[in-house]
Amino acid sequence: MLLTQFLLLAAILFSIGVYGVIVRKNGVLVLMSVELMLNAVNINLIAFSTYHGLGGQVFALFVIAVAAAEVGVGLAIVLLIYRNRRSVDIDQLDELKG
């Protein structure tokens, strides 16, 4: 197996995630897209760890932990938005800024 194939797969996932983050306006879906990107990163980390020792795996573990925290807080924020605005549409939040 080539290293590149994993990296390319990760790249595809990452760019799909990017697309999702840009296009989706439902907060939960945006978080899912972020999750896609994080996982792409994880694939990279693991793939590289075949070269550079277990450090990559440890990092991936940390990323998973961070991702868990991120989803937790992110979803809590989405719920907050929903509670206040009866919608999970994060694009509408812009109106608040103005």
């Binding site: 998973i64 925290a69 989803v71 937790g72 719920l79």
Partner: protein, 126 residues
């Protein structure tokens, strides 16, 4: 036959995958047999949602409570903790007291979260 660690490793997981797919295969098989013999008799009310025999009242969809979310959140956090505990558990002896202290601090910090949630009353309904 010689086999490298790689093939052994992947091979054992191939077995796992085969066995795992059995679930789907079995369901599919049963469904197929059932497809051969079962009747099909449409009746106008058969496809309504069951709701104790009356028309579904109100909106079908509902929101659950945030309580569930907080439980899920707590779970995720502690699950992550467990993930770190497991590797440590296999090597407790090797690390000795130092490892113990490290892990206790780790557990302790997260326990603070539980205590916080407890004190905040999110574990309770009423």
């Amino acid at each position: 036959m010689v086999s490298s660690p790689l093939s052994d490793f992947l091979r054992s997981y191939l077995t796992v995958a085969i066995f795992g797919s059995l679930g789907f295969i079995l369901v599919g098989l049963l469904l197929f047999i059932s497809y051969l013999v079962r009747p099909n008799r449409p009746q106008p009310q058969k496809y309504l949602s069951y709701e104790s025999g009356v028309d579904p009242v109100g909106s079908l969809w509902s929101q659950s409570q945030i309580r569930y979310y907080i439980f899920a959140l707590l779970f995720v956090m502690f699950d992550v903790e467990a993930v770190f505990i497991f590797p440590w558990a296999t090597r407790v002896e090797a690390y000795g007291g130092f490892g113990l202290v490290e892990m206790f601090v780790f557990i302790g910090v997260l326990l603070l979260g539980l205590v916080y949630a407890w004190r905040k009353g999110v574990l309770k309904w009423a």
